[in-house]
């Protein structure tokens, strides 16, 4: 396996994207695929095109069945002999120099560009023709956290052993100024200049100013081992184990009640959380391929382990009760539960059998289990008391009902059980059948069933106090608003409405599909697919949702050199009655002893709301694409796509439309010359309606006293994306020049309007006179230009010199103002947000054939 060949053999379009080097290596999806790096996207200097073409068996082979041009293959390596073995190898090494905003986070996304020496690629392949034995090694290192090494050995038709080691960085911030020591751990302690729970905004701002900008990143490393064994030509066994570790830190939250309604109070903090976890993946299976039967039996397992169970942080701000004459206990310690350890197992069996009429019947069944059983953490992490001290005694008790003893809540004894003990069992069953009763007619059918069963549930109950529910905001709310503890108690707070149970989301869904494909004439086909899917969720607004669809597709390759594809689909969704509050059982209103508050139990939400995943919907999808061969050496492709969704919702998502167009031109007049140009544009429109509740009352009707019509508001999102690129590559004897230009441009605009200021949670925003507006445009644009030359100095030595200039621009109004200060009232931002960059990368690399 020679990835440089894959890279070079890809369509010119792929090459056109090459200058967007940071995106050339992904963040870790599909990590068992052949790893690469940002340099390999431009190929190796000595990888000359092979004029002999792609195959000894057929001439030309210049186009895919859809009409796209294949890239010219590369010349095979010249092998050397070593006893019974033959081998070839190559090494690319050299240096890169980065100028400009070299520390910028966007520039460094998924790649570590440091000026200095780089090993672009070391590749050695050995073969023993006598018995098909082979051994391969590939390695690369661009920087301290960016590299890979993989090895494989085996014998063709007998076995294969693979091993992989890879590291990849993901820089998430280049300008973090956290006010805590301990970044990267799960214990954030305020800088010495700040007093926990006793600092003001000015002190925090001064502390931020004293912190040098830091880089926050998460490095992902993966180690894997795999074995394939060809037991017989019919039976193949496989097994693989891998471990993926993530290590680093990234911006996170840290709430101490919200601040905007309580100026000078509470605390909204952007903390920095650690990322220190490992996931072990196991996969094993055995496969049989017979003349009539095919079978596959497989096991997959995944085991996630987090080093930390929780994140603790300190808040610098004092909490002040809203009731005059009272004081707050000085709490400042907050916490977050981090991801729980969890295990996943899945067993799957698949059988397929050939049928008469060129048919096939397939049946597959699978069962899985997901489980987590971490020890639970206490509801609060404080010492002494929290809440509001009404009588000044500092002692909780009946006479001081809003002051609470931390000892009643800061221990696992305050929980209804010690560990999570939660499990989800999954089942899946699929069957499909296809037959071809006539040469020009194929029929197919499919049935499938899925089910998820949530086992066990958690009831938030504190046996030490008799309270149900969770402490909100680390106790901060109760320390500002007397009695706002966030719990229900049959004696002390019988009318409190709060969440007390976990929400099991058991579900099952099944679907059926029937289809037919007609060969209308030679190279003309029409297909019709009818399908229905019934989803039966539990504890959702609907207990049944049905999606019915009809899809028509047409492919025409009748005209020589033209491939035309068109499809159109209509998907209609409806279901049973929509219930706005299926969640009541998870709240204290369901507990015996609950006493409805004066005025009744508030409506859970407005009756007219239709959540978009369950709302009635009519969707139309259309695709049209064509590829035209322009002579033997060029092709032109164009496509139009549309997806229009109308939701039957007075409140909720109403419209979501997307449409786009692409056009691409490719030209390969000779192995020495190739060029391409592409352009794509798409747009999306999302419109939603909502209404503010002005009173916590029991009437959920739209237009009623709780959800008045003048509380309505609407939001409209418009997104427009463009991408374009051009590339040309030309060989002049031993010299090959390549020039690439790329553009990625995305722009999003959110506008809004509202019926009256009643619609706004923050009334001051509605006093400016208008009833509509828009947020500043969100913008992300990257322009890149690269110029390279590859020079074959000798048959074994080649030189590559390249320059990559890239400019990124980003506008994100969420971060407006943070360049002048990270502290706004009691809101503290660690990260200054993404910023634009201008960089230039020069590389000089030597390719050596070993």
């Amino acid at each position: 396996m020679r990835p440089h060949r894959f890279a070079r053999a890809a369509l010119p379009l792929a090459l056109a994207f090459a200058p967007a080097a940071p995106a050339a290596a992904d963040s870790g999806d599909g990590v068992d695929l052949a790893p690469g790096n940002a340099l390999l996207a431009n190929g190796l200097a000595d990888a000359a095109p092979d004029a002999r073409g792609t195959s000894w068996l057929r001439p030309g082979q210049r186009r895919s069945p859809a009409g796209h041009l294949y890239g010219c293959p590369l010349e095979p390596p010249t092998v050397e002999e070593l006893g019974e073995w033959i081998y070839d190898g190559r090494m690319q090494l050299g240096g890169v120099v980065v100028n400009g905003d070299e520390d910028n986070a966007l520039w460094n996304r998924y790649v570590r560009w440091d000026s200095g020496l780089v090993l672009g690629l070391l590749e050695i392949a050995l073969r023993r023709p006598a018995d098909g034995s082979y051994a391969e090694l590939r390695a690369s290192r661009l920087g301290s956290d960016d590299g890979f090494i993989e090895a494989a050995f085996g014998r063709a038709g007998s076995y294969k052993v693979q091993a992989l080691l890879r590291e990849m960085p993901n820089v998430v911030s280049d300008s973090a100024r956290p006010i805590w020591n301990g970044v990267g751990t799960n214990d954030l302690r305020l800088l010495p200049s700040l007093a926990p729970g006793a600092s003001d905004s000015a002190a925090v701002a001064a502390a931020v100013d004293g912190v040098a900008p830091q880089r926050l990143q998460v490095v992902r490393s993966r180690t894997g081992l795999g074995l394939d064994a060809y037991l017989t030509p019919r039976w193949i066994a496989r097994a693989a184990v891998s471990e993926e570790r993530r290590s680093g830190a990234r911006p996170f939250g840290g709430a101490f009640f919200y601040n905007f309604l309580f100026p000078g109070n509470a605390g909204v903090l952007e903390t920095v959380r650690p990322v220190e976890d490992a996931t072990v993946n196991l996969a094993a299976g055995i496969r049989y391929a017979g003349d009539r039967w095919r079978m596959d039996f497989a096991y997959d397992g995944s085991f996630y382990r987090d080093r930390y169970r929780r994140l603790r942080f300190e808040s610098p701000f004092a909490l002040t009760p809203t009731r005059p004459g009272t004081t707050s206990a000085p709490i400042y310690q907050g916490q977050f539960a981090l991801e729980p350890d969890n295990d996943y197992h899945n067993l799957r069996a698949t059988f397929m059998r050939r049928l008469p009429w060129n048919g096939e019947l397939g049946v597959s069944a699978a069962a899985g289990r997901m489980r987590q059983d971490d020890d639970l953490i206490a509801p609060i992490d404080c010492a002494g008391t929290f809440g509001v001290d009404s009588d000044g005694s500092g002692v909780p008790g009946p006479a001081n009902p809003f002051l609470h003893a931390c000892a009643d809540w800061n221990t696992p004894a305050a929980l209804s059980r010690a560990s999570a003990d939660l499990r989800i069992d999954t089942y899946a069953f699929d069957t499909h059948v296809s037959v071809q009763p006539l040469p020009a007619l194929s029929l197919r059918g499919k049935l499938d069933f899925r089910r998820e069963d949530y086992r066990n549930a958690y009831l938030a109950y504190n046996p030490l106090t008799g309270d149900y529910g969770y402490i909100t905001e680390n106790g901060a709310q109760a320390s500002i608003q007397p009695g706002a503890l966030g719990t229900w108690n049959p004696l002390t707070a019988p009318s409190a409405i709060t969440r007390v149970r976990s929400l099991p989301l058991d579900r099952q869904d099944y679907g059926a599909e029937l289809g037919a494909d007609w060969q209308l004439a030679e190279r003309r086909s029409l297909s019709l697919t009818l399908s229905t899917r019934r989803d039966e969720p539990t504890n959702r607004e609907r207990s049944r949702v049905t999606d019915d669809s009809v899809k028509l597709a047409y492919v025409d390759r009748h005209v020589e050199g033209l491939t035309l594809r068109a499809s159109f689909a209509v998907i209609d969704r409806d279901g049973d009655d929509y219930v706005s509050d299926p969640y009541w059982f998870a709240y204290s209103v369901s507990l015996p002893g609950f006493v409805a508050p004066a005025g009744g139990v508030p409506a859970f939400t407005v009756d007219a709301l239709r959540k978009y995943d369950l709302a009635d919907r009519r969707e139309h999808k259309a695709n049209l694409s064509a590829t035209v061969a322009l002579g033997d050496t060029a092709s032109l492709s164009a496509g139009l796509q549309g997806d229009w969704n109308d939701y039957d919702a007075v409140i909720g998502r109403q419209v979501y439309d997307r449409s786009g167009a692409t056009v691409q031109w490719e030209w390969q007049p000779s192995p020495q010359t190739r060029a391409s140009i592409h352009y794509g544009a798409d747009r999306a429109r999302l419109r939603m309606a909502n209404v503010a509740d002005v009173v916590f009352g029991p009437d959920g009707s739209l237009g009623g006293p709780d959800y008045p019509l003048n509380g309505r508001w609407w939001a409209y999102d418009k997104q427009r994306n463009r991408n374009a690129g051009a590339s040309i590559e030309q060989g002049f004897g031993p010299v090959r020049l390549d020039l690439n230009w790329n553009l990625v441009d995305a722009r999003g605009l959110t506008s809004y309007r509202f019926a009256s200021p009643v619609a706004l949670a923050y009334f001051a925003d509605g006093l400016t006179g208008g009833d509509s507006g828009e947020f500043p445009a969100m913008r992300y644009r990257v322009d890149s230009l690269s110029l390279g030359a590859s020079i074959a100095l000798t048959p074994r030595v080649a030189l590559r010199v390249f320059d990559l200039f890239e400019r990124g621009r980003i506008d994100d109004w969420h971060y407006l103002g943070l360049d002048t200060g990270r502290v706004i009232d009691h809101r503290v931002y660690s990260d200054g947000g993404p910023s634009g960059y201008t960089t230039n990368l020069i590389g000089v690399l030597l390719d050596l054939r070993l």
Partner: protein, 229 residues
């Protein structure tokens, strides 16, 4: 003049590969006059037998072979002009039309080798059909057909006329030819480039098994130049 034209035609791009080999992937159909060819094979049959059914097993049988393959073989002898080859002087005086006529003539002759009823039981049958993954030997039938009559797609495009029928070929000749592919490294056509890689993993035992089975497998028909659209 005809000879000059023939030489010019011979060097036209369809047969001249970019890498110094004759590219048969897009080679044209080989047409000729069998009757005329019959008048030009007096020297040939001395070694290759009457109507191409060689009696001496060191020499290949030419009867019922596909005309494209025969023509390209003859052209190869002339192109290489190997002084060590006994074929070199035989073809030097022949023009391209002569080669085509001769090829078409032998293709039209019936192979007279006797069939062996137990051929299917020979070990070479399985090797030909399935190959041997453990030894790196690929199945031969992919390019030479399930019963070694030629490429399975013969008749659908001219290029498949350049893949030989192997059935009823002399075992000695087949073994020698395969060893040459394996050991000599002399390849100058795109098809020979395929065979060079394949023969690399054929040991002497495998060659002997294959040759024995192929020699015992009957050739089912004669061959003609295809009529392609």
């Amino acid at each position: 003049m005809k000879r000059v034209l023939a030489l010019l035609l011979f060097s036209l791009p369809p047969l001249a590969g970019a890498g110094g080999f004759v590219d048969l992937r897009d080679a044209p159909v080989v047409a000729g006059d069998a009757a005329a060819g019959a008048a030009k094979v007096a020297v040939c049959v001395a070694c290759h037998g009457a109507e191409g059914n060689a009696a001496v097993t060191a020499f290949p049988a030419l009867a019922a072979q596909h005309p494209g393959y025969l023509y390209q073989s003859l052209a190869g002898f002339r192109r290489r002009a190997d002084p060590a080859s006994p074929m070199t002087p035989q073809v030097q005086s022949l023009g391209d039309a002569d080669l085509r006529d001769i090829a078409v003539y032998f293709a039209s002759r019936r192979r007279s080798a006797p069939a062996v009823s137990s051929a299917a039981d020979l070990p070479g049958a399985r090797l030909f059909r399935d190959g041997d993954a453990a030894r790196g030997i690929v199945p031969c039938q992919g390019c030479h057909g399930a019963t070694a009559q030629g490429h399975p797609l013969h008749g659908t495009a001219p290029r498949y006329d350049y893949y030989p029928a192997l059935a009823a070929q002399s075992a000695d000749y087949l073994a020698a030819r395969l060893r040459r592919y394996r050991d000599d490294g002399q390849v100058d056509t795109s098809n020979a480039l395929i065979m060079r890689g394949i023969a690399r993993n054929l040991d002497d035992a495998a060659i002997a098994e294959l040759a024995a089975w192929l020699a015992a497998t009957p050739r089912e028909s004669t061959s003609t130049s295809g009529d392609y659209p």
